[in-house]
């Protein structure tokens, strides 16, 4: 068992949509910073992967990569999947509780109740184009509150739909250096799916790979009359710096020896 490498991709979606590219709009991080990774916080991440082999040449440690992608102005991916619907329902519940509180109070008129009812705002729905049909989705603003129906919205005034990884390709995949796949997870981050890859550390070299990422552009859809999230596929490259060294002993620098205990130095 060895430490897993987490590779986090943070995307400035608005800038990427304007530029038409992820270059310069992507910020990579991984958890191998102290162990030789370079390019942290840039779009030129070279992750250090330390392979090792035993004296007989066999691989001594396996390496696993996990990929997580998020947008700078996306709501945290750790929120429950139906967070936006929950927020919309919560507002309705609060208004109903206020009306209930009026029961039994003298001097309450229909006008008072009507005034409270106007406080219920229908949330603005947006649509996600997916395989030819539309998925309805409550629009949230940047603070996670539902956007009222009919409000003027644009890309920067609402919480972005988080970007999604759709594939991992490139040199490292073609040459069999990494084996990427999408896995289901009991953790509902990204809807319970995540990308992971195992690394063969037998070929020390800097290998490149390509992440295929879909970002979403907010457009006004003529047919559905709803603000719609239009998927825009993009790619970005990252690198793995695979090294492989013989396992050595921390006490001797070579093979196993007598422990340095009680020596007079």
């Amino acid at each position: 068992m060895t430490q897993q490498r987490g590779i986090v991709i943070v995307i400035d979606v608005e800038a990427a949509l304007q530029a038409g590219s992820l270059e310069g709009c992507t910020y990579f991080f991984d958890n191998a910073g102290p162990f030789g990774t370079t390019g942290l916080g840039t779009d030129k991440l070279v992750s250090a992967i330390h392979g090792s082999y035993w004296l007989d040449g066999s691989q001594a440690s396996e390496q696993v990569l996990n990929f997580a992608v998020t947008g700078i102005t996306s709501l945290p991916v750790t929120l429950p999947r139906d967070y936006e619907r929950h927020q919309a329902r919560q507002r309705e519940r609060e208004t109903l509780a206020k009306i209930r509180a009026l029961i039994g109070e003298a001097g309450v008129t229909n006008a008072d109740i009507r005034k409270l009812l106007t406080g219920i705002e229908m949330p603005q729905l947006s649509a996600i184009r997916s395989f030819g049909h539309h998925l309805k989705h409550v629009l949230l603003d940047n603070l996670g509150q539902p956007v009222p129906a009919g409000a003027k919205v644009d890309q920067s005034s609402v919480a972005q739909l988080p970007p999604t990884i759709t594939d991992i390709t490139g040199e490292a995949v073609e040459k069999g250096i990494i084996y990427p796949a999408q896995y289901g997870s009991p953790d509902l981050v990204n809807g319970g799916w995540y990308w992971s890859a195992t690394v063969a550390t037998h070929s020390p070299k800097v290998w490149s790979y390509t992440l295929h990422i879909v970002v979403y552009r907010l457009v006004q859809d003529a047919a559905s009359q709803l603000p719609s999230w239009e998927p825009v596929p993009m790619t970005c490259d990252a690198w793995l710096n695979i090294s492989s060294k013989p396992v050595r002993n921390g006490f001797t620098g070579g093979g196993t020896g007598i422990l340095p205990i009680g020596l007079p130095y």
Binding site: Q3, N31, P34, A48, H50, L259, G262, L263
Partner: protein, 146 residues
């Protein structure tokens, strides 16, 4: 001649948050004579001359970085820490060695284990409390000793 594994499980997130390994480092051994203070940084491991000791580290959260940077034993003089150590966590290092024949039975040979977890001022934390002990002959033991 046998082998004893000393496994140190570290809760990296808690250790970095509290800036301490106390309570966040769980050391265990699998020796034939069960060590004392299992699950704490105060682990006492019973061993015998010629036996091999292997130190390994496990992360409680697999995605957090943690490596053993050094293991150093106290010199007989007392206050200085003696022993060769690797010093860099980049190259693959295993921490194992043979218990020497000159250890005095019953004496606690304390060692410092240094763990590197990330970058920054508190990323290298260590404890100086675990020890190796060659069990003394039975007739020298106090009743609660064994």
């Amino acid at each position: 001649m046998g082998t004893i594994n000393i496994v140190s499980a570290v809760d990296v997130i808690a250790a970095l948050s509290n800036r301490s390994l106390e309570g966040n480092l769980l050391m265990m051994d699998d020796g034939p004579l069960p060590g004392e203070n299992q699950g704490t940084p105060h682990l006492t491991t019973y061993c015998w001359p010629g036996w091999q000791i292997n130190w390994t580290i496990l992360q409680v959260d697999l995605q957090t970085p943690a490596e053993i940077r050094s293991i150093r034993f106290t010199s007989p003089g007392g206050d200085s820490w003696a022993g060769w150590f690797a010093g860099d966590a980049i190259s693959p290092v295993v921490w194992s060695g043979i218990v020497p024949p000159w250890l005095i039975p019953g004496h606690h040979y304390q060692y410092e284990i240094e763990i590197v977890m990330a970058r920054g001022s508190n990323s290298v934390l260590s404890v100086q409390t675990p020890s190796l002990v060659v069990p003394p002959p039975r007739n020298l033991l106090t009743p609660q000793g064994m």
